[in-house]
């Protein structure tokens, strides 16, 4: 089944939520495992996102312009004795897509909020 253009899958929305949250906390870039861990903690999931699901979604989102990526300097990774990381960043298009996807929820929350008024005994 094909999805509508601009519609985000749950995993894509989770990645955007987690990526933006990380950016707010000062992490300009994130790598695959970091986003998997962030999603697990945010959603209180039992398992980290599966490799295939995560990296396929990251690949698809980069092609759609929602994310940008670059490989880190191999010398830096070698200096820390670990494999090099692929660093992702949420683009402006990614932020807009996430805002659009979350808009109906926000509207729903506003409508459900009780009206302020006199408290009756």
């Amino acid at each position: 089944m094909r999805r509508k253009p601009g519609q985000l899958l749950p995993i894509e929305l989770s990645i955007l939520d987690a990526g933006i949250e990380l950016a707010v906390r000062g992490a300009r870039h994130f790598h695959g495992f970091l986003i998997a861990r962030e999603i697990k903690e945010r959603e209180d999931a039992r398992l980290l996102t599966a490799h295939g699901t995560l990296y396929r979604a990251l690949d698809r989102m980069e092609k759609a312009g929602l994310l940008e990526s670059e490989w880190e300097d191999p010398m830096l990774a070698a200096g820390e004795g670990r494999p090099r990381r692929r660093l992702y960043r949420v683009t402006a298009a990614g932020e807009a897509a996430r805002a659009a996807a979350r808009a109906p929820e926000r509207r729903g929350a506003t409508q459900r909020r009780p009206q302020a008024g006199p408290v009756t005994p």
Binding site: H31, F33, T49, A50, H51, G52, R56, R82, P83
Partner: protein, 206 residues
């Protein structure tokens, strides 16, 4: 590194090597490096937090197994976009496609059984035994499915994987040989004849 972790990391790396085989170098290397980095980060964090290696290994294995369908889909898409001049369609007849689905179903059932064991199902003397047996039961049918998938385009590799998967299942469920052997023979026979069929883009005699 504990034996369970070695096994889980090896399984994840082997699976990446299988499904990224045949892709252009940069695409293949990028995926392998990304998974390598992920495995390293997960191990490093688990070490730092003092988490039991068996739990980390089980989670790594589950991440690999649960993502396999996405990996195969990604592989097909990456292969199609990287090689627009070569058809990746198998040109299978409807009968062959139906055969593939029918044979993949019992294999998927066995794989699901293995995943259940990894997540704690079944009765075992120790958790380690459960994880090791679950690994085998989960991975063997998936290897056979990968072989069934590949045997039209790469007959030798495909048939080897099917044989490896089927023989492993027979060994793991040795008390059910009267079921596993006949079904296994059908699967191997199907893979063999599929591998012998007309190859994609092969010139046909006039």
């Amino acid at each position: 590194m504990s034996a369970a972790l070695v096994l889980a990391v090896g399984m994840a790396r082997s699976w990446v090597a299988i499904y990224s085989r045949g892709l252009p170098g940069p695409v293949r290397e990028a995926r392998r490096d990304e998974i390598d980095s992920d495995l390293w980060e997960q191990r490093w964090l688990a070490d730092r937090r003092g988490e039991p290696p068996l739990a980390t290994a089980a989670e790594m294995a589950a991440r690999t197994l649960l993502g396999m369908l996405s990996d195969v889909t990604w592989r097909v898409q990456a292969g199609a976009s990287a090689r627009p001049d070569r058809s990746i369609k198998m040109k299978d007849s409807t009968i062959v496609r139906v055969g593939l689905v029918v044979l993949a179903l019992p294999l998927l059932l066995v794989a699901a059984n293995g995943i259940g064991m990894l997540l704690g199902g079944g009765e075992f003397e120790s958790r380690q035994e459960q994880v090791l047996y679950g690994f085998g039961v989960a991975i063997a049918p998936l290897v056979a499915i990968a072989g069934l998938w590949l045997c039209a385009s790469q007959p030798k590799l495909g048939l080897t994987l099917v044989l490896a998967g089927v023989v492993s299942i027979c060994a793991l469920f040795y008390w059910m040989l009267f079921i596993t052997v006949p079904i296994g023979l059908v699967i191997v026979g199907f893979a063999f004849f599929r591998g012998r069929g007309p190859r994609p883009n092969q010139p046909q005699p006039a």
